[in-house]
Structure formats: structure tokens, C-alpha cells
């Protein structure tokens, strides 16, 4: 270790090189997708691939003209907002009760449900929803997607509720405040940012979820993600429109992710790591 400062400078330079390499590997594919979506259709499939071109919106226009992209978007929004809302409605009080009582089985139950392969539930759901004529209904889609959102809400909020000093609740109780009132008037305002993160993560993962909508939606209620699967067959020769669809579908979750990136660690590990 004779010239330590020099070797340290070397190490930091090496770090920068590696960071740039990692950045390229991570971002280039997405950048390529976005670039391709703005290429004139004949250039998307050009070989060798081109990097310089005059950007055009023709792929987006074609996508809107040849597919009911707008109504798929509405379907996705209804299912995503509905399931995120249901997850919050059931998840906030449950997380509060688990945090208060330290009886954790309700939280573990929802998490275990999340760990099983989706097809396990999809088989009986399909049989049951078909019997009551609910295949293709928003209700069936929202209920199925709430299975995704509920554990997210509970596990994101558990540490937030745990962090509130118990003395605050005890003081309120002495004043005759009921538990429900404490949740509504005291605890919820204190975990506002946690609720925002839970809402956003619920939105993202419900928006992104593929399997349930693949089977439980029909032509009228198809979500964007399920519709994207059909674009592959139809769009095999139309890469431009395909990449335009991919870009538009990825936009909402990526935007939201950028907003909450600071709080992602605790939210995404379902409380397994204290971030």
C-alpha cells in the first residue's frame, strides 16, 4: 500500500466505468423501444438498424386507428383504480389492527395468498365466475386484482403504523376515543405518506398484472396488458405500432415509480428489509 491515494483514485475511476456500463445495459433496451416507436414504419424493421431518422407519430396514429386503444385504457384504469381502492379500503384498517394487537396472522394470510401461483386461484375463479355469468365483468377483474393490492397495502403500512408512538393512542383512549376514531382522526393523518406509497405501488402492480385479465376479461373489458398480448400476433409485421403500444402502456407505472423512488425499498420488500 505505498501509494494509497493513487489506487483510491483508480478504484473510483473503475467504479464510474462500471456504473456507465450498468447504465447502458439497463437503459438501452427501453431507449430502443421508445426510439423505435417514433421511427417511420419502414425504418423500424430496417437492417442494419438505424439510429438516425426523422421522428414521426405515424405509429401512434396507426395504433389509435386500428385498435380500440382508448377503451382498453379506460378498462385498465377502472380495474386498476377499483382494485387499488378496494385494497386501501380493506388494507388500511387491517394494517392498523395488526399493528395495534401484534396479532399478525391476518397480514401473513394475505401474503401467503400472494405467494401462490396465480393459476391456482384462476382455475376455481374461472369455474365460479362462469357459473354466475361474471366472466368479462369489471367486478370479477377488480376482485381478482385486489388480491394483488391488499397485501401491498397491508405490508407497506404496517411499519408506518408501528412507528407511531403508542402514547398518542393511549392519551386519546383516556379521552374516550374509540379505536375506529383513533384510526380515522389520529393514525391515518400521521401515515399519509405511507398511504400514498401504498396507493401508488398498488396502482403499478395492478396495472402491470397480466394473468387474471388474460382469462377473466373479454372483448369489452380487456385491459391494456391483456390486449398487448393480442398485438403480438396482429403486429408481427408492424413493429412500430407494437413499440408505440409498449411505450404507452409502460408510461404510467414508470412515471409513478419515479415519483416514489425514495420510498421504494420498504414498500417493495413487503417489510422484509428496513430501508
Amino acid at each position: 500500500m505505498n501509494n494509497a491515494p493513487l489506487s483510491e483514485a483508480w478504484i473510483s475511476r473503475l467504479n464510474v466505468v462500471q456504473l456507465v456500463l450498468a447504465g447502458i445495459l439497463i437503459m438501452a433496451p427501453t431507449a430502443w423501444m421508445v426510439l423505435s416507436s417514433f421511427k417511420p414504419s419502414f425504418e423500424v424493421t430496417a437492417y442494419p438498424p438505424t439510429l438516425i431518422f426523422s421522428p414521426t407519430a405515424e405509429n401512434y396514429i396507426q395504433l389509435m386507428r386500428t385498435t380500440p386503444f382508448f377503451s382498453y385504457t379506460i378498462n385498465s384504469l377502472i380495474v386498476t383504480l377499483g382494485s387499488a381502492g378496494l385494497g386501501l379500503l380493506f388494507g388500511i384498517p387491517a394494517a392498523f389492527a395488526v399493528s395495534w394487537t401484534r396479532i399478525s396472522w391476518p397480514a401473513i394470510l394475505t401474503l401467503a395468498a400472494r405467494m401462490a401461483p396465480g393459476t391456482l386461484f384462476l382455475l376455481p375463479w374461472y369455474v365460479m365466475f362462469r357459473q354466475v355469468g361474471m366472466i368479462g365483468s369489471y367486478t370479477a377483474l377488480i376482485l381478482s386484482h385486489a388480491v394483488i393490492t391488499l397485501p401491498i397495502v397491508i405490508w407497506v403500512l404496517l411499519p408506518s403504523f408501528d412507528n407511531i408512538p403508542r402514547s398518542i393512542f393511549e392519551a386519546a383512549q383516556v379521552d374516550g376515543c374509540s379505536v375506529t376514531r383513533i384510526l380515522w382522526k389520529i393514525a391515518m393523518p400521521l401515515v399519509g405518506s405511507g398511504i400514498a406509497v401504498a396507493a401508488i405501488l398498488s396502482f403499478v402492480f395492478s396495472w402491470n398484472y397480466f394473468l387474471f385479465a388474460l382469462v377473466l376479461s373479454n372483448g369489452d373489458s380487456k385491459t391494456l396488458i391483456a390486449a398487448a398480448f393480442n398485438f403480438v400476433g396482429e403486429g408481427s409485421t408492424q413493429w412500430g405500432a407494437l413499440m408505440a403500444a409498449a411505450t404507452l402502456i409502460a408510461l404510467p407505472p414508470l412515471t409513478l415509480a419515479a415519483i416514489v423512488q425514495r420510498w421504494l425499498v420498504s414498500g417493495l420488500t413487503l417489510g422484509a428489509v428496513k430501508g
Binding site: G23, W32, A116, G118, F121, L122, D175, A258
Partner: protein, 295 residues
């Protein structure tokens, strides 16, 4: 206490707390517990093409043991799992260390580094489908321009599993990095200072101090990835649907197709229950390991 009569009784409080978690519990029982019991029941039955059902006992399970496609699916699932997990842990830890030392990196750029897993897997599949196209894709152009032979990627029975593992690694190694980064940030700085005073090289510090202390975090990341990787579905269904031939037919894809393409709900139920047992077995095993490496 003047208002003692106003204070909430313990019984009333317990009832209220139970009522608060009741909707979530009832919802989960209705949507998960009851359907899973129904799946177990379905697994003991066979369904004809006209929808008539008949009790077959363990027939679906003995069929499963004799089914080559099941064993092939199990092999594909495990191969994909081991390969993806190894890649994601190694690259995830690498990325976490890079981000940990790049303290001056703006938050916005940092979020770009970890963004891939927030993208819908279906979109990731579409995107890579175009990039990896055997004849017109950008990946083969890059390979050829640096003098390497082009690959058939997803269209090759040999390469489809490594290719799918690569796509999933692109998407989820950043997630592993995010978890490991959280672990790194919670390590006490004092251990590093001690190592520095002792003149330990960066490699020795990593090998002897950082890695052992990170082990619980790494096992956590392993558990979270195992749950997803063992039931691999989205990217395969969008890119190959189990093909070419049956080269990427994981158990989850196979079970889905048996159920919703061939409408053999009984056999599909038996397949999915078996896969669920595998997933939970892995989670329990890793959970014990986490207990063993905790500090």
C-alpha cells in the same frame, strides 16, 4: 380520573379491532381460501369435453407422475429458476455496490437504474421480442458487428431458457440491487472504519465483512425472487408461449395451458397444487436459512 366512565372497555376495544381486520380477512378467505379448497376438490375430478365431471380420486396425481410433460416442465422450471436467480443475485449485488459507492448520483438517475422492474413484464417481453428478433433484431446486429455469430435467441430450443433468464434478469436484477442497497445502508459504518485501519484491501473487506453481514438481506432477496421465478409466466407467455416446441414450457405455463387451452380443469388443478407445494417448500426452506444466517 374524572371521565373514567367514558374510557373504552377492553372487550369493546377487542371487538372493534377484530371488526377493523374483518373485511381483509373475509375477502382473503372468500377469494383465496375457499377457491383453493375448491381447487383441491377439482384435483380429484376429471372433466370431459362436454363439461361432465367424474370423481377419479388420485387419478390426476398418478397421471402426473406418468406424464413426461410434467417432468419436462419441472426441469424447465428448475433450470430457469437456478439460472435466473444466480444471474440476478450476482448482478444485483454488483449493481447495489456500484450505487452504494456512487453517493453523488442524483436521485433521478438512481431511479432510472432501478426502473426496469416497474415496467409491466408484458411490455418487457414485447420489447425484447423485437430486440432479439433472429433476422432483424438489434441484438444480432451488435453481435455480428463485434465479430460474433448471430443467435436464434427465443426461437432456438437450446437458447430459449438462457434468453428468457436474461430478459428476466434485465428486469429484476435492479430489484435485487434495491434490496441489497437497503441492506448496505443499514450496515454499521464502524466495521468499515475498523477494516480500513487494519489496512484491509477493498476485496478483502467485501469478502470478509460486507458479504457475511449482507447474507440475511441476500437470503431475503432470494426468497422474494424465488416466489416469482418458480411460477414464471408473463415473459414466457408473451414471447414463446412455452415454445419453440415445449422448450420453455414451465410448470405454470403448462398448468395454465392444460386448464385454459385444453380445459382439463381437474388435471390443471393437480398440476397447480403441486407447483404451489414446490413454491411454499422453497420459501420455508429459505426462511429457515435466513434464521440461521441472521446476526
Amino acid at each position: 380520573m374524572v371521565h373514567a366512565a367514558n374510557a373504552v372497555t377492553p372487550d369493546r376495544q377487542r371487538a372493534e379491532l377484530a371488526a377493523l381486520s374483518a373485511p381483509a380477512v373475509l375477502f382473503t378467505l372468500a377469494m383465496i381460501a375457499f377457491p383453493v379448497i375448491y381447487t383441491i376438490w377439482l384435483g380429484f375430478h376429471s372433466f370431459s369435453s362436454t363439461g361432465r365431471q367424474s370423481f377419479v380420486g388420485l387419478g390426476n396425481y398418478s397421471k402426473l407422475i406418468a406424464d413426461n410433460e410434467f417432468w419436462h416442465g419441472l426441469w424447465v422450471t428448475i433450470a430457469l429458476y437456478v439460472l435466473s436467480l444466480a444471474l440476478q443475485l450476482v448482478l444485483g449485488i454488483w449493481l447495489a455496490l456500484l450505487l452504494f459507492h456512487a453517493k453523488r448520483l442524483p436521485g433521478f438517475v438512481r431511479s432510472l437504474f432501478i426502473s426496469p422492474f416497474m415496467m409491466p413484464p408484458v411490455v418487457a417481453g414485447l420489447m425484447w421480442l423485437v430486440i432479439l428478433d433472429p433476422s432483424l433484431g438489434a441484438a444480432n446486429y451488435i453481435l455480428q458487428s463485434i465479430g460474433l455469430p448471430p443467435s436464434e435467441w427465443l426461437a432456438s430450443p437450446t437458447w430459449v431458457i438462457p434468453t428468457v433468464a436474461l430478459i428476466d434478469t434485465w428486469q429484476w436484477a435492479p430489484y435485487v440491487a434495491l434490496i441489497v442497497l437497503g441492506g448496505l445502508q443499514s450496515l454499521p459504518p464502524s466495521v468499515y472504519e475498523a477494516a480500513q485501519i487494519d489496512g484491509a484491501s477493498p476485496y478483502t473487506t467485501f469478502r470478509r465483512i460486507t458479504l457475511p453481514l449482507l447474507l440475511p438481506t441476500i437470503v431475503t432477496a432470494t426468497i422474494l425472487r424465488s416466489v416469482d421465478l418458480l411460477r414464471f409466466f408473463d415473459i414466457i407467455y408473451i414471447t414463446t408461449q412455452g415454445g419453440p416446441g415445449n422448450a420453455s414450457n414451465t410448470l405454470n405455463i403448462y398448468g395454465f395451458r392444460v386448464g385454459f387451452e385444453f380445459f382439463n380443469i381437474g388435471y390443471a388443478s393437480a398440476l397447480m397444487l403441486t407447483l404451489t407445494a414446490i413454491v411454499f417448500g422453497a420459501v420455508l426452506a429459505f426462511n429457515r436459512l435466513r434464521g440461521a444466517v441472521a446476526w
